[in-house]
């Protein structure tokens, strides 16, 4: 599930109609035979603010089965035994993928809706079942300290292990796989497509990659064999063993830390805070490049005390160099009664975090705001200038500030 307002929302078909000649709109079949030139592709990316919609779902308009039977998806194609579960008596299982630990009876599914118990064997139903694929700027994830200006071949399957009331991609994250049109794109094909679209990385994103961990692991292996990195955009709501196995294969991670209070996690997210904090600490120990996004929702998680507590926790447990993005909330899904986060609220959050000593605190979903830029923590000069997803200047040289030589943490060059 995505947190960062409009930035990480799956591009809707309406956006893509701005360029009707764009062959990448015609579905996955067009991917392999696309004749879109790199130049026109980049033009499209620049003009639409996106780099491409590779799959999109057409909604049906009439409840008439004889007229409009959706294309059946071959379930067997996408079904593989899950890797993280425990068998129980009477054909029941306990899922060990996320902290929820669903106990699932025969013929039933877990909370995520994409894992099913079939006679005591637990299966993922979303291996290679890609319901959204786009070529995005890596800044859209957002990862600001990881290969800036590069593209990420971004994909998702249906499903999520939480149910955030503000989710902007709820139509795929809160759906069962058979409810969402999808294409079979196995791991090797994912790597091929990433290479074809000149993407140095594959991004697992839009819905919640925790729930398609098996596919993510296999795609990451295929990508690495082809020299393509993997990045994940996740809620971090995952058990430690699964984290080490799945996200151990990642080259960079963005975690949506949705609040710094457990009550918010329970009421708004349907999850728990502590496992997410544990994930952040574990990623730090694993040496994974990690950035944090905090979606600031007016009245619910924007208190000074909560922001201050968050910043202190980050400083004490992760250090001062972890990028922290405060992003603007937009009403959606089940949380339409609240306004867009006022920019001064985001600015105040940033100031609180900086006052606690964090070096890289950004404001997101406010294109053109100066807090989209990366500043040298020592000399305060602009090192990376951004407007929205676009990089205007990138001055970091060999991982350091060109002016004062201060080391700037991150992966700046491929």
């Amino acid at each position: 599930m995505q947190l960062n307002g409009g930035l990480q929302t799956v591009n809707r078909p309406a956006l893509d109609r701005t360029n009707p000649e764009n062959p990448i709109e015609t579905g996955a079949a067009a991917i392999s035979s696309s004749t879109l030139s790199r130049r026109s592709f980049l033009m499209c990316a620049a003009s639409a603010g996106i780099a491409g919609d590779i799959l999109h779902a057409a909604r049906r308009s009439a409840a008439s089965p004889e007229l409009d039977t959706p294309r059946a998806q071959d379930d067997a194609l996408f079904t593989a035994e899950a890797r993280f579960y425990q068998k129980l008596p009477n054909k029941r299982i306990k899922c060990k993928l996320c902290p929820r630990e669903c106990t699932v009876g025969d013929r039933e599914r877990g909370y995520c809706g994409v894992r099913e118990n079939r006679s005591g064997v637990y299966y993922t139903l979303v291996h290679s079942r890609v319901c959204a694929a786009h070529v995005d700027p890596v800044e859209k994830k957002p990862l600001f300290h990881y290969l800036p200006g590069s593209l990420a071949f971004s994909l998702a399957t249906a499903g999520c292990n939480v149910n955030c009331k503000f989710c902007q991609n709820w139509d795929i994250s809160q759906a069962r796989p058979e409810q969402v049109p999808a294409e079979y794109i196995p791991p090797k094909r994912v790597a091929e497509l990433a290479a074809q679209w000149h993407c140095p990385s594959i991004a697992y994103t839009y819905s919640e990659p925790v729930v398609f961990s098996e596919f993510l692991m296999d795609a990451a292996d295929a990508g690495h064999e082809a020299g393509i990195r993997s990045i994940v955009v996740s809620n971090g709501y995952i058990q430690d063993d699964a984290l080490r196995a799945a996200y151990g294969k990642m080259d960079a991670v963005k975690i949506d830390l949705k609040a710094f209070s457990d009550s918010y996690y329970q009421k708004v997210v349907t999850g728990q805070l502590k496992p997410v904090l544990d994930t952040l600490v574990a990623l730090r120990k694993m040496g994974k490049w990690t950035e944090i996004v905090y979606l600031v929702v007016p009245t619910l998680n924007d208190g000074d005390g909560e922001i201050g507590g968050l910043a202190r926790w980050v400083k004490q447990n992760l250090g001062t160099d972890v990028p922290l993005h405060f992003t603007q909330f937009h009403p959606d899904y089940l949380l339409k009664n609240l306004p867009i986060t006022p920019v001064p609220t985001l600015e105040r959050a940033r100031e609180i975090a900086r006052a606690e000593g964090l070096h890289f605190v950004y404001i997101g979903n406010v294109p053109g705001h100066p807090a989209e830029n990366t500043y040298c923590p020592r000399c305060q000069r602009v090192l990376v200038e951004r407007v929205g997803f676009e990089i205007r200047q990138m001055l970091i040289l060999k991982g350091a500030c060109p002016y004062c030589k201060e080391t700037i943490p991150g992966m700046w060059h491929a």
Binding site: R100, G105, T270
Partner: protein, 352 residues
């Protein structure tokens, strides 16, 4: 050109006046209703009809006559009679035609929501559903205006139903064929998309659940069968499905269309549900009918508890899975029916 949706000032005022009258009437009715429910809650009726010969003759002393007693196939004539007996018990009338004519009107679209998770072993019985469809046609409903449905066509087929779309026969297909509404509907803790069969193909909904134990919810009977009408039932299984089952049943479109619940207890499940596990099923050879799903669930739950006790199993409460959602469904926020057994009139009839 005049916009079709434009309303003149005169039309607006007329509509407003009618609306105001309607609103007042509704207000008066609802205040009357709430006063009555506080002072003297209406009793709910649940009718149970049993037929021990539903599968054929009982075994003799040597067990040699048990020709069909263990059969999954029911005797159609006896199913037909059992349905009539259960309905007569509920409506206190021997005139089956009048009973069904009270429930539906010619021209209406009727949905028969079955439960097919348990395959052939533990799903809404095909013969029973056929009998219900026959009664609906006797009441003047055109066959093509009846749709037998559940969430998935493959599950319907596994349970023995034949998928039928189009033509002038009774329709049968799953939501997978037509999808869900794009818009979310909400109540309490629930936000879901509804099956387009429910929203577009049903004026009246007849619920045909199965009497089942459920490892998470405690039991799955009438109320929980409505999980098959929403797109995200997996999100509503935590905490024993409480308050989610009650909240789902409060969704306006469901509540407005649900007219009758005919629980198939020909074969039932006392443990290990909701999937079919032969070792945990028994054959009450019964139908449980009510207009009140809460009362039906309360009575059905007690039947399951009695069977569990007979089998030496702990109560659902002792296993920390009592179906608390039934009480929630009856609370002041939901008022979906009665769970207080003192206020439920149970009529039982043994056909054989």
């Amino acid at each position: 050109m005049r916009n079709e949706r434009t309303t003149s000032r005169r039309e607006f005022l007329t509509t407003s006046l009618v609306g105001a009258v309607g609103f007042n009437a509704v207000q008066n009715l609802s205040s009357l209703e709430s006063a009555r429910s506080i002072e003297q809650p209406a009793k709910s009726r649940v009718s149970i009809a049993y037929d021990s010969l539903l599968r054929g003759p009982l075994p003799d002393a040597h067990g040699t006559a048990a020709i069909r007693h263990d059969s999954k196939t029911l005797d159609s004539d006896r199913v037909s009679n059992l349905l009539d007996q259960a309905m007569q018990g509920l409506f206190d009338s021997a005139d089956r035609g009048r009973i069904w004519e009270k429930l539906v009107r010619p021209g209406q679209l009727i949905g028969v929501k079955v439960n097919t998770l348990g395959g052939r072993g533990l799903s809404s019985n095909v013969q029973l559903v056929e009998e219900i469809c026959a009664r609906l046609q006797e009441a003047g409903i055109r066959p093509q205006d009846i749709v037998i449905w559940d969430r998935d066509s493959t599950e319907l087929e596994r349970a023995g139903f034949r998928i039928r779309t189009g033509g002038s026969q009774v329709q049968c297909f799953g939501t997978d064929r037509v999808g869900f509404e794009a818009d979310l509907v909400t109540f309490g803790s629930v936000g879901s998309q509804l099956s387009r069969i429910l929203t577009q193909r049903c004026d009246v909904l007849i619920n045909v659940p199965v009497l089942k134990d459920h490892d998470g919810a405690g039991v799955s009977i009438a109320l929980k069968n409505m999980y098959g009408a929403i797109h995200n039932p997996n999100k509503y299984h935590p905490n024993g499905c409480d308050p989610y089952v009650a909240d789902v049943n409060m969704l306006q479109e469901l509540r407005a269309k649900l007219r009758l619940h005919i629980c198939d207890a020909t074969t039932a499940c006392f443990d290990g549900g909701p999937a079919f596990k032969p070792e945990f099923t028994w054959r009450p050879n019964a139908l449980i009918v009510s207009e009140d799903p809460v009362a039906l669930d309360q009575i059905g739950w007690q039947m399951i508890e009695r069977k569990r006790a007979e089998q030496g199993l702990k109560t659902l409460a002792a296993e920390d899975r009592a179906p608390r959602y039934i009480e929630t469904a009856a609370d002041a926020e939901h008022r979906l029916g009665n769970n207080d057994q003192r206020r439920i009139v149970v009529s039982e009839k043994h056909v054989a």
